[in-house]
C-alpha cells in the first residue's frame, strides 16, 4: 500500500510515509493534503472522474484497492436497509434468492449500472418494509451486545481458572516442603527410632499424593450454571408469552347408588335408626323418644378433648362408616 501514489501530487506519498490516503464515494483516492487543497478552492469535483463531492464523504482508506473501499461503503448502506434475516423467510430457497438480490443491488451501485432504477427500487423497498427494518435493527444490536457479554465472561472465566491452578500448584509445593521440614524436625526432637519416623513420613507423603491426584481429576471445566443452563447459551430476554387457559372448576364426584342418599355430616345426630328427624326441632322430641332412637352418632366413640383439638370430630368417623355401608348396597352395574 505504501507504493501507491496520490494521483494528484504523486511524489508526496513516497517522501512522506505518514501521509494518509482518503477515498470518496466515486472510488478514487486522494491524499490528505490534496483533499484540503481541493476544498480550499471551493470546487468539489473529483480529479479523475469529475463527480461532485462533499468534504465529509472522504474516508480514510483501509484497503489497498480503493474500489473495495467504495464497495464496502455502499454495502454497509444497503445492508442497513435490506436487513432481513433467515427466519423472516418461509424457506431457505427464498432467503437465498433475497441474498442474491441484495448482491445484485450492491454490484449495480458499485459499477454504476442502472444507478437510478436501483435507487428507486431501494427507496420503494424501504418504504414498504419500514417496520421489519426497525425490528431487525433492534434485534441485531441486542445480539451483538449479548455476544460481547459472552466473550467477556469467557475471558474472565479463563483468567480466573488460570489463577486458581497457579495457586493450587503453589499450595501443593508448600505442602510438600512442610512435610519434609516436619520430618527433619521430628528426627531431631522425637524419641522414636528413625525407621518408624521414616515410615510415618512415607505414609503422609503418599496421602498427599493421592489427594493431589484426586484433585486433579475432580476439576472439571465448569460448563453449566447451577440452574442447569449451559454457559454460552443465549437466553432470550424477551418477556415470556402469556398463555391464557380455562380456569379449572372443581366438580365433586357423583356416584349413582339407586338407593337412599348417604346422610350428610351435619345430620348425623338427627338421623337415627327409626328415621330422619332432622326437620323436627329438638324440644319436641320427648326424652323417651330420644332414648328409643339411637342416633347414628351414638354408635361412635365420642371424641376426647385432645382429638377435638386436633380437628377430629366423631361425626367424621360415623360419616365414613355410613358411606362405606351405603356404597356396598346398590352397586351400579356398568
Amino acid at each position: 500500500m505504501d507504493d501507491q501514489g496520490c494521483p494528484r501530487c504523486k511524489t508526496t506519498k513516497y517522501r512522506n510515509p505518514s501521509l494518509k490516503l482518503m477515498v470518496n464515494v466515486c472510488g478514487h483516492t486522494l491524499c490528505e493534503n490534496c483533499v484540503e487543497m481541493l476544498f480550499v478552492r471551493g470546487s468539489g469535483n473529483c480529479v479523475q472522474c469529475d463527480t461532485p463531492l462533499r468534504k465529509s464523504n472522504f474516508r480514510l482508506q483501509l484497503f489497498e484497492d480503493p474500489a473495495i473501499d467504495k464497495e464496502v461503503e455502499i454495502r454497509k448502506k444497503v445492508l442497513k436497509i435490506y436487513n432481513k434475516r433467515d427466519f423472516d423467510f418461509p424457506s431457505l430457497r427464498e432467503y437465498n434468492d433475497y441474498l442474491e438480490q441484495v448482491e445484485e443491488i450492491v454490484y449495480n451501485l458499485t459499477n454504476n449500472v442502472d444507478v437510478e432504477s436501483t435507487k428507486q427500487m431501494m427507496e420503494h423497498y424501504q418504504r414498504e418494509n419500514r417496520d421489519i427494518i426497525q425490528r431487525n435493527k433492534a434485534k441485531l444490536t441486542r445480539e451483538q451486545e449479548e455476544l460481547e457479554e459472552l466473550l467477556l465472561l469467557e475471558q474472565q472465566d479463563s483468567q480466573q481458572r488460570r489463577l486458581e491452578t497457579l495457586q493450587e500448584e503453589k499450595r501443593q509445593l508448600q505442602a510438600k516442603r512442610k512435610s519434609k521440614q516436619a520430618l527433619l524436625d521430628e528426627l531431631e526432637n522425637s524419641q522414636l527410632p528413625a525407621s518408624i519416623l521414616l515410615a510415618q513420613h512415607k505414609d503422609r507423603a503418599a496421602q498427599l499424593e493421592t489427594q493431589i491426584e484426586k484433585q486433579k481429576q475432580s476439576v472439571k471445566p465448569a460448563t453449566i450454571f447451577s440452574t442447569g443452563i449451559l454457559k454460552g447459551q443465549t437466553v432470550s430476554l424477551a418477556p415470556v408469552a402469556h398463555i391464557e387457559e380455562v380456569l379449572y372448576k372443581y366438580q365433586p364426584l357423583h356416584i349413582e347408588t339407586f338407593g337412599p342418599p348417604v346422610p350428610g355430616l351435619e345430620q348425623l345426630d338427627r338421623i337415627g335408626c327409626r328415621g330422619d328427624f332432622s326437620a323436627v326441632s329438638r324440644e319436641t322430641l320427648t326424652p323417651i323418644i330420644q332414648e328409643v332412637i339411637t342416633w347414628y352418632l351414638n354408635h361412635v366413640r365420642t371424641a376426647t378433648p385432645q382429638d377435638l383439638a386436633g380437628g377430629y370430630t366423631s361425626g367424621l368417623a360415623c360419616h365414613r362408616a355410613l358411606q362405606d355401608a351405603f356404597s356396598g348396597l346398590f352397586p351400579s352395574l356398568i
Binding site: N96, D97, Y98
Partner: protein, 682 residues
C-alpha cells in the same frame, strides 16, 4: 509356522518367533474382538509390522464379515515399501501352506506418480497409504470416502500423530501468498469474462444447480462429507450454497473483499492473538462478510474451477489455500487460534508479516476416524506415557499396553551422565548453555566415547543453534582436534542435500576404518527417519533434553488450551514431548535382538523421576539405580565393560528358548506364563 492365538489360526511366515510378538498378537486379537480402539507400545526392531499384518489378515480370513478391510497408515514412503515387502512374504507363505491361490488384494498409494483408480479400492482387502489421506480433511474426502465402517485402521509410528493432526488443520498465510492469490483471482475474473462471451451456457448451468441446491454426484455422500466436516450437523451439510455467492461474479467479488481484508490485517506493527469468533466478528464489521458464505467458500471455489474447466489446479494453490482457511475459520469456533505477527521472533528486523491459523486441538482432525471405523490401533516404539494419547486425542481405548523386549543378553545399556569429572553438573538448560565448564565437559564426554566405542557414534543436540555454538566452542578449546584423532566427524545441517551427503560419507566411514561421529539434531531429518543398525550406531549420545522452542506464541496458546480443556499441566506436556523425541533418537540404534548399543543421556535432569518415568518401558527396565547420575569416568568404565561383553560371539542358538522361540517351545506352559507377563496394561 501356524500359531493358535486365543482360538484363531494365524499363519506366521517365519520359523521362529519372539515371545513379545506372540504377546502383541494376543493383545491385538483381544482389541479386535472387543471392536474397540487400542494403544500399543512395542519396542522398535522386534517385528511389529509382520505381527500386525499376520494377525489382521488371519482375522480377516476367519471372520470376513467382521473385518472387511485393513487400512495401514504409515508416515513415509520407505516405510510403506517395507510394509509391502512383508505383506508379499506373508502372501507367499499363505499360498505355500494352504496350496490355494488367495484372492487378497492389497493396494499401496504412495505419491502422485502412483495414483490409484478409485473403484479398485472398493475391492481391495488391504490398503496402505500415508496418514494424510485419512487425517487431512482436504484430502480425506477425495481418497477415503469409499471405506466401509467395518475396517481396522492401523497407525504405525504414531508417536507424532498429534502433530500431524494439528498441521493438517493449520494454515499459515504470508504476504506472498496474498499476492499470488490476487493474481489468481484476477485470472479467474478474466476467465469468467471470456467464458461469458463464448460459452455462457456452462455458467448458467452451474448457477441453476446452485440455486436448486443440487450437489455434485460425488460430493453428496454421507461418508466423505462426514470425514471432511466432522463437527457440522447433517442439516447444515446438506444446505445449499448461500445466495450471496451463487453467481460467479459475486463470488469473485466476495473473494476480492476477503483478500483485501486479510491484506489489511497483515499490515500491523504488533502481535495480535484472537479466537475464531473474534476474527469473524471483525470481518463482519470491516467488510460485511458473514459466516455462512465463508463456510461454503471452499466448495464454491471447487465448483467454479470445475465449471471453468481449469486444467492446471496447481496454479491456483494460493486461492485454494485462502478458501480452505475461510472454511476452517468459519466452521470451528473452538480449538483454533489466530496469531498475527509482524515479524518472526528470530529475525525481528526483517518485516515479514504472517498470519498463523493454528489448530490447538488434535482431536478435531482425528475424531471422524475414531467414530467411523470400528477399530483403530495406534502403535509405535515410543508412546510413553500411554495415557496421554487418549486424553489429547479424546477417545476411549479398550486396550492400552506396553511391551518389553525379552532378551537373552542385555543388548541395551542406558546410562545417565549427570556430571563431569570435575563434578560440574552437565545440562542443556538455558541458563547453563554458555557455561564454559559445561561445554568442556560435553566435549570430554564425546572425546572419551570416541576412544572406546568402535565404529559409529551418533550424537543428538537439542537445536541447530545450540549445536553450532557448542561445536564452535569445541573448536576453540581444541577438543575437536583431539576427537578427530580418533574418529571422523560429520554434521547435519538444515540443508537436505548436505545432510544426505554427510550421511552417505558417515556410512562409508563406518564400513571401513575406525568409524565416525555424526552430529545431528533431535527434531531433524536424521532422528525421524534414519536407522543406525549394527556398526552404524554402536552408541547414541543425547546431549541435553530436547525441549521444543518454548517462547513461540503458538506453543503457548496450545499449552493454555490443553490446560483449560484437558487439565494437562504445561510442564507435563512439555516434558512428555521432549522425552518422546529423546526416546525416538536413542531408539535409532537398536534394530533387532542381535544388535546392541549404548544409550547415553547426557543431562542431569534425566535422573529425575518425572523424566525417567516418561521413557518407554523397554528402556526404563534396563536403567538401574547405579546408572543414574554418573560421572564421565564411571560412564567410560561401564561402557568398556558392556562393549567387551557384547563383542563376544552371539549365535542364534544362544537365543533359542529365551528370546527366540520355535513352535514347540512356544506352546510349553511356562513360556505361556512368561508371555503373559510381558504385556503391561496401563
Amino acid at each position: 509356522m501356524k500359531l493358535n492365538i486365543d482360538g484363531l489360526l494365524v499363519y506366521f511366515p517365519y520359523d521362529y518367533i519372539y515371545p513379545e510378538q506372540y504377546s502383541y498378537m494376543l493383545e491385538l486379537k483381544r482389541t479386535l474382538d472387543a471392536k474397540g480402539h487400542g494403544v500399543l507400545e512395542m519396542p522398535s526392531g522386534t517385528g511389529k509390522t509382520i505381527s500386525l499384518l499376520s494377525l489382521i489378515v488371519a482375522y480377516q480370513r476367519t471372520y470376513p464379515l467382521e473385518v472387511t478391510k485393513l487400512i495401514y497408515c504409515s508416515r513415509t514412503v520407505p516405510e510403506i515399501e517395507k510394509v509391502i515387502e512383508e505383506l508379499r512374504k506373508l502372501m507367499e507363505f499363505y499360498t505355500k501352506e494352504t496350496g490355494e491361490k488367495n484372492n487378497f488384494l492389497a493396494l499401496a498409494l504412495s505419491s502422485r506418480k502412483n495414483l490409484c483408480i478409485h473403484p479398485e479400492i472398493l475391492h481391495a482387502n488391504i490398503v496402505v497409504y500415508s496418514y494424510h489421506y485419512l487425517l487431512d480433511p482436504k484430502i480425506a474426502d477425495l481418497v477415503s470416502k469409499e471405506l466401509a465402517k467395518k475396517s481396522v485402521v492401523v497407525f504405525d509410528e504414531a508417536h507424532n500423530i498429534d502433530n500431524v493432526c494439528i498441521d493438517s488443520m493449520s494454515v499459515n498465510i504470508t504476504r506472498r501468498t496474498l499476492d499470488r492469490c490476487q493474481t489468481n483471482v484476477e485470472t479467474l475474473q478474466n476467465t469468467i469474462q471470456r467464458i461469458k462471451e463464448t460459452d455462457a451456457a456452462k455458467l448458467r448451468e452451474e448457477y441453476r444447480r446452485l440455486v436448486e441446491g443440487l450437489k455434485e454426484a460425488n460430493v453428496a455422500r454421507e461418508t466423505d462429507i462426514y470425514l471432511s466436516n466432522p463437527v457440522l450437523p447433517d442439516e447444515i451439510l446438506q444446505e445449499a450454497v448461500p445466495g450471496s455467492i451463487r453467481t460467479a461474479e459475486h463470488f469473485v467479488g466476495f473473494l476480492k473483499r476477503f483478500l483485501e481484508y486479510l491484506k489489511a490485517r497483515l499490515r500491523i506493527h504488533h502481535v495480535v492473538q484472537e479466537s475464531s469468533p473474534q476474527f469473524l466478528k471483525d470481518i463482519y464489521e470491516k467488510v460485511c462478510i458473514d459466516r455462512k458464505p465463508l463456510r461454503f467458500c471452499a466448495e464454491r471455489l471447487r465448483s467454479l474451477l470445475r465449471t471453468l474447466e481449469i486444467a492446471d489446479i496447481a496454479d491456483f494453490s494460493a486461492v485454494t489455500l485462502i478458501s480452505n482457511f475461510a472454511t476452517l475459520v468459519s466452521t470451528y469456533s473452538k480449538g483454533f487460534t489466530i496469531i498475527i505477527e509482524p515479524f518472526e521472533d528470530k529475525t525481528p528486523t526483517i518485516v515479514n508479516p504472517v498470519l498463523h491459523f493454528s489448530c490447538m486441538d488434535p482431536s478435531i482432525a482425528i475424531k471422524p476416524v475414531f467414530e467411523r471405523f470400528q477399530s483403530v490401533i495406534i502403535t509405535s516404539g515410543t508412546l510413553s506415557p500411554l495415557d496421554i494419547y487418549p486424553r489429547i486425542l479424546d477417545f476411549r481405548p479398550v486396550t492400552m499396553a506396553s511391551f518389553t523386549m525379552t532378551l537373552a543378553r542385555t543388548c541395551l545399556c542406558p546410562l545417565i551422565v549427570g556430571r563431569g569429572n570435575d563434578q560440574v553438573a552437565m545440562s542443556s538448560k538455558f541458563e547453563t548453555r554458555e557455561d564454559f565448564a559445561v561445554i568442556r565437559n560435553y566435549g570430554n564426554l564425546l572425546l572419551e566415547m570416541s576412544a572406546i566405542v568402535p565404529d559409529g557414534i551418533v550424537a543428538f543436540f537439542t537445536s541447530y543453534v545450540y549445536m553450532e555454538n557448542i561445536v564452535a566452542s569445541w573448536y576453540e578449546q581444541g577438543i575437536l582436534e583431539n576427537i578427530q584423532r580418533n574418529k571422523l566427524i560429520f554434521i547435519e545441517t538444515q540443508d537436505a542435500a548436505e545432510t544426505s551427503m554427510a550421511l552417505e560419507k558417515y556410512q562409508e566411514a563406518c564400513e571401513n576404518g575406525r568409524g565416525a561421529i555424526l552430529l545431528s539434531v533431535a527434531r531433524g531429518k536424521v532422528s525421524e527417519g534414519i536407522d543406525f543398525v549394527h556398526h552404524f550406531g554402536r552408541a547414541v549420545i543425547m546431549f541435553g533434553v530436547p525441549y521444543v522452542y518454548t517462547q513461540s506464541r503458538i506453543l503457548k496458546a496450545r499449552l493454555e488450551y490443553l490446560r483449560d480443556q484437558f487439565q494437562i499441566r504445561e510442564n507435563d506436556f512439555l516434558t512428555f514431548d521432549a522425552m518422546r523425541h529423546a526416546a525416538q533418537c536413542v531408539g535409532r540404534a537398536i534394530r533387532g535382538k542381535t544388535d546392541y548399543g549404548l544409550m547415553i543421556f547426557a543431562d542431569k535432569r534425566y535422573a529425575r523421576a518425572d523424566k525417567r518415568g516418561k521413557l518407554p518401558r523397554w528402556i526404563q527396565e534396563h536403567i538401574t539405580d547405579g546408572s543414574l547420575n554418573l560421572t564421565i569416568d564411571e560412564t567410560v568404565q561401564l561402557s568398556k565393560h558392556f562393549l567387551r561383553q557384547m563383542a563376544q560371539p552371539f549365535r542364534r542358538e544362544d537365543q533359542l528358548g529365551l528370546s527366540l522361540l520355535t513352535l514347540e517351545q512356544l506352546q510349553s506352559e511356562e513360556m505361556l506364563q512368561k508371555i503373559s507377563q510381558i504385556a503391561q496394561q496401563v
